[in-house]
């Protein structure tokens, strides 16, 4: 359990302090400032001094800090810190020093609610917003609504949904967002390639709808012999996690995803696959060091997806040595520019059609250096977004909505693949 919770700014000033246990005093806040904030060499997010352990997470210009005197659940404390950040973002748009200072009263109210005696309670922003309001999100509902109903919802089996939701038009939007992680070795071998996927849902559905959701999940489809033929289009999911609304027991027994969704936007599921990944971009860098004063770059990028599709906001970050004096570069598409502050050439291609390829040639001039340490050659990293494409090949097969009143609902599905950690060594 958590004995105390603090929020500091970058200078180490306490913005929020809340003690949950009597086993420590407020002056403990100074110890964290001295030992962590003003220490330049902090090598762990957990520090134990005496018998007090400090857990910290950095967010924007803040330190979110939880303290305990116990052998507490460390994973829980960090997850909780991130949940606080999440709640803060949901309430104030952004959780930074200004937001904390401007809303400290609400933050105290929230901290009183999400932790009791150091044990996390309900930390779901949608539920909290029903009864803890700020000037900016003053919901009339909260004042009018019978508070007894709030309490039932805050503690109930479907604590994430009110029962009286009504929409004229019942709609559900599904976004499949995949982040491709790639690590390519100097020789051009794939060291690791995997996809971290996220299925976001925006549900605007009346009443208490029961949803069933289907993917081209290999394990599920191969169980059914009639689907055998199509099994070439299936995806093997290594692992997945679900929003708390999904009935995990059901998924475990027959791999169906059924749930009663929260109202509005939420992350329905996260998944991970590492099998048969379609890498949207191939990068071939040739980097030659010519003597001690010059480096030549030739970087070829090829889009590996259908020519009907387009990638947007493609950015390549090509590192240059620290002692670079200047770079001349020319690209066959987009704009390339040397950014001294980042020690890299930044090549931006706003629109990249499928199957096309572009080339960057650059020459970096180096100044003489006295020490002889070789350049560490950090990897080239890449950023992009490709719409209507999934690297894993994942598809949404269906979303069925069942509700007492039997209304019709409209469903929309979008796909997007973006770069996660897309790194190419050279």
């Amino acid at each position: 359990m958590i004995s105390a919770f603090f929020i500091y700014n970058q200078k180490g000033e306490v913005l929020i302090s809340r003690l949950y246990r009597q086993d420590l005093k407020r002056s403990i806040a100074d110890i964290f400032r001295i030992q962590v904030i003003s220490n330049t060499d902090v090598r762990s997010p957990i520090i134990t001094l005496g018998s007090t352990s400090f857990f910290h997470v950095r967010h924007e210009n803040l330190y979110i800090v939880a303290l305990t005197k116990w052998n507490a659940n460390a994973a829980l404390i960090f997850e909780f810190c991130y949940r606080v950040i999440n709640v803060g973002r949901s309430y104030f748009g952004k959780l930074d020093e200004d937001a904390v200072k401007a809303n400290f009263v609400v933050i105290y109210e929230l901290l009183d609610e999400v932790l009791d005696f150091g044990y996390p309670q309900n930390s779901d922003p949608d539920t909290l917003k029903m009864y803890i309001t700020t000037e900016s999100v003053k919901s009339e509902r909260a004042i009018m609504e019978d508070s007894a109903r709030i309490t039932i919802q805050a503690t109930g089996a479907t604590s994430w949904r009110r029962s009286d939701v009504k929409y004229r038009k019942n709609e559900a939007f599904i976004d499949v967002i995949e982040s491709v992680n790639l690590l390519l070795s100097v020789q051009g071998n794939v060291l690791r390639a995997d996809v971290a996927g996220q299925i976001m849902m925006r549900a605007y559905l009346s009443g208490t709808p029961e949803c069933k959701f289907g993917l081209n999940d290999k394990v599920l489809l191969e169980k059914d012999p009639s689907n055998r033929k199509r099994s070439s289009n299936t995806v093997e999911i290594d692992d997945c996690q679900f929003h708390q609304c999904v009935k995990l027991g059901k998924f475990d027994s027959d791999r169906t995803i059924s749930f009663i969704p929260p109202d509005g936007e939420f992350e329905l599921m996260r998944y991970r696959t590492s099998d048969n990944i379609n890498l949207p971009f191939k990068v071939h860098p040739v980097v030659t060091e010519i003597g001690k004063s010059k480096i030549e770059y030739r970087v070829l990028v090829k889009a590996n997806f259908s020519s009907k599709l387009n990638a947007n906001n493609v950015v390549l970050n090509i590192p240059t040595p620290l002692n670079t004096a200047g770079v001349t570069c020319s690209a066959s598409a987009g704009k390339a520019k040397y950014v001294p502050g980042e020690n890299s050439i930044v090549w931006k291609i706003p629109r990249f059609q499928g199957q096309s390829e572009y080339m960057l040639t650059a020459e970096a001039n180096l100044t003489a250096m006295t020490h002889k340490k070789a350049w560490s050659r950090p990897p080239i990293s890449m950023d992009f977004q490709v719409l209507m494409f999934t690297s894993s090949g994942l598809l949404v097969r269906f979303l069925k909505v069942f509700e007492k009143s039997n209304y019709q609902s409209v469903k929309w599905v979008r796909y997007m693949t973006k770069a996660g950690n897309y790194q190419i060594r050279f």
Binding site: F104, I152, Q241
Partner: protein, 595 residues
């Protein structure tokens, strides 16, 4: 509203006036300013009666602010707290359940005897409240009361009521009752407050599916205390816990892993065990895509689990490869796991990865990577040659700290595979001048001494080091001493003069007793019985092995019981870092009062 963090003179006086203002807005604003001052650590306890006056209000926000103030300053104004008691008691009867809960929650946080006297009746009512939100808050309040006064909690029957709440119809009430009982059990003397038996376990499993993520953790934590009667029962609990591995919250996953790891001890069905281990791998890998801090905790736990169950994650070494921008603490832990997972099939891949790390910027990480290469060589016989070649490549980079680290691990490789890689000694000796760290220097000196007969200019090399003998670190001095004696025993003709000089210097000019005494021992050995000296100094050394398992079996079981907690992060038993609770400030005070 503007927070004024710069105290003007007389701000308290101004606040005092505003707190007593006839306008509600102004009073509320004043209370907010009081709280702001409290946050930055200024003492506003003198305003106590004036703040408390504002407690009786229908404005929920205002009420919460006053409560917050009370929790902070009640202890310093115990006599004045009585002013607040009436409002508290009235609030626990309020029609609004949120206010009832708020009142009982706050009362429990005010650790003043006067409040305690008035707490018991409202608490009893709240525990039996119709509203689950009030009940779940009251459940935690019992733990607060217990923390202050165990006897009072027992006398009033709260413990029994709480035990009853484990069967409540609302999952969150169950979770909080379990949380409170578990904490009370830990601090109770009789240890009979909360013993997880079959009935309780079944109730908890039923609530597990429906409660919030945090409630699930509470239940899983208590479930870990249950000892199944037989293998069958353990299997069926596993089946019901397994779906939790799919939860989006990493701490729920780790808590489920803990329960499964504990239950594994009771299962004798090999098929089932295999299946379970297989099912546990993907969620563990997925934990690596969470926030870096959660990753860190997960990696420390994976490290433990791997020591207990080396068959897990065997094909997943790639996911532990470091990303360039991972924080250093994550990289360090990933490296440890890579070494643990290293085998003759994936060594090629791992070596090229480690070589990559050795060219990074973070000096500490680079050193660890170089050392890891050596550890792989010692772990996998077939791969040792490839590892040595990689190390030689690294030595050729001439990067000072890489060279030194490489020499240190090469010494270990020599100890593991004596006489196999002598050919590289000349390359090592070329880097003599760049060594400035005692450990690296000592390592190279050890190698020279050990292989003196194969190195033509061994005496020159030793001589070279001896020039600065007196200024060296004691570790280097000891190595030099031994190496010189070895040299003398192997090539007496060349080095008689050197050994004489070294022993003389060491015995006469060095104050460090270790070095001096070792010199005396050698001197006496050499002068009385050179044959015995040979037997002692040149004796066969036992080959070393890598200690990839850093945790002893006894400690291991305790740590598995503590998966996901701080103990599992430190790989130490809780008592090692928690200090002794019996000597905490409160306990000492209580003990003094009892006398």
């Amino acid at each position: 509203m503007i927070i004024n963090t710069y105290n003007k003179t007389g701000e308290n006086a101004e606040l005092l006036a505003d707190l007593n203002s006839e306008y509600r807005d102004r009073r509320k604003d004043a209370v907010k300013r009081v709280i702001a001052n409290m946050t930055v650590g200024k003492d506003v306890s003198s305003l106590f009666p004036h703040v408390v006056k504002n407690m009786q209000t229908e404005d929920l926000e205002m009420k919460k602010l006053v409560y917050l103030y009370l929790m902070n300053y009640a202890k310093s104004n115990p006599d004045l707290v009585i002013l607040a008691v009436n409002t508290f008691v009235k609030d626990t009867d309020h029609v609004n359940p949120l206010i009832r809960a708020l009142a009982i929650r706050t009362m429990g946080c005010i650790r003043v005897d006067k409040i305690l006297d008035h707490l018991c009746e409202p608490l009893r009512k709240c525990l039996e409240d119709d509203d689950p939100y009030v009940r779940k808050t009251a459940a935690i309040c019992v733990a607060k009361l217990w923390d202050l006064d165990q006897e009072r909690a027992l006398e009033n029957g709260f413990v029994t009521i709480l035990q009853g709440l484990v069967s409540d119809s609302n999952p969150m009430v169950v979770a909080n009752a379990v949380t409170a009982l578990a904490e009370m059990q830990e601090s109770s003397e009789t240890k009979d407050i909360f013993v997880v038996n079959v009935a309780i376990m079944n109730k908890m499993l039923a609530a597990l599916n429906e409660c919030t993520e945090w409630g699930q953790i509470a239940i899983l934590t208590s479930l870990a205390e249950y000892r199944p009667l037989d293998s069958k029962e353990a299997e069926s609990i596993c089946e019901r816990v397994m779906p939790r591995l799919q939860h989006a919250n990493g701490s729920v996953v780790l808590s489920a892993i803990k329960v499964l790891m504990i239950l594994l001890r009771y299962i004798n069905n090999d098929e089932f065990v295999k299946g379970l281990i297989r099912k546990m791998s993907p969620p563990l890998v997925t934990l690596l895509s969470s926030a870096p801090e959660v990753q860190y905790v997960s990696l420390r736990n994976i490290n433990l689990i791997l020591q207990k169950r080396p068959d897990i994650l065997q094909n997943d070494v790639r996911v532990f490869f470091c990303k360039y921008n991972d924080p250093p603490y994550v990289k360090r832990e990933k490296l440890e796991i890579i070494i643990k997972l290293c085998n003759d099939k994936n060594i090629e891949q791992i070596l090229s990865e480690l070589k990559e790390y050795a060219s990074e910027v973070d000096v500490d990480f680079v050193r660890k990577a170089v050392r890891a290469i050596g550890r792989c060589a010692i772990k996998i016989d077939e791969a040792s040659e490839r590892c040595v070649n990689v190390l030689l490549d690294l030595i050729n980079t001439k990067v000072n700290y890489v060279v030194q680290e490489a020499i240190i691990v090469i010494k270990d490789i020599f100890r593991k595979y004596p006489k196999r890689y002598e050919a590289i000694i000349p390359t090592l000796c070329q880097n003599l001048d760049s060594l400035d760290e005692p450990e690296a220097k000592g390592s190279l000196i050890w190698i020279i001494g050990e292989y003196a007969e194969r190195i033509d200019n061994a005496d020159e090399l030793i001589e070279n080091f001896l020039e600065t003998f007196l200024e060296e670190n004691s570790r280097v001095q000891l190595q030099l001493l031994t190496a010189t004696v070895k040299l003398f025993l192997k090539k007496p003709s060349q080095s008689e003069e050197i050994v004489h000089r070294v022993l003389q210097t060491a015995t006469e000019e060095i104050d460090n007793p270790d070095t001096r005494d070792r010199a005396f021992v050698y001197w006496r050995l050499l002068s009385t019985n050179p044959q015995a000296a040979k037997a002692v100094v040149l004796s066969e050394k036992p080959p070393i092995s890598v200690e990839t398992n850093t945790v002893s079996p006894a400690l291991m079981d305790e740590l598995i019981n503590n998966i996901s907690t701080l103990a599992s992060v430190y790989h130490k038993p809780p008592t090692a870092f928690m200090g002794n609770k019996a000597y905490s400030a409160d306990a000492v005070k209580k003990a003094a009062a009892a006398e």
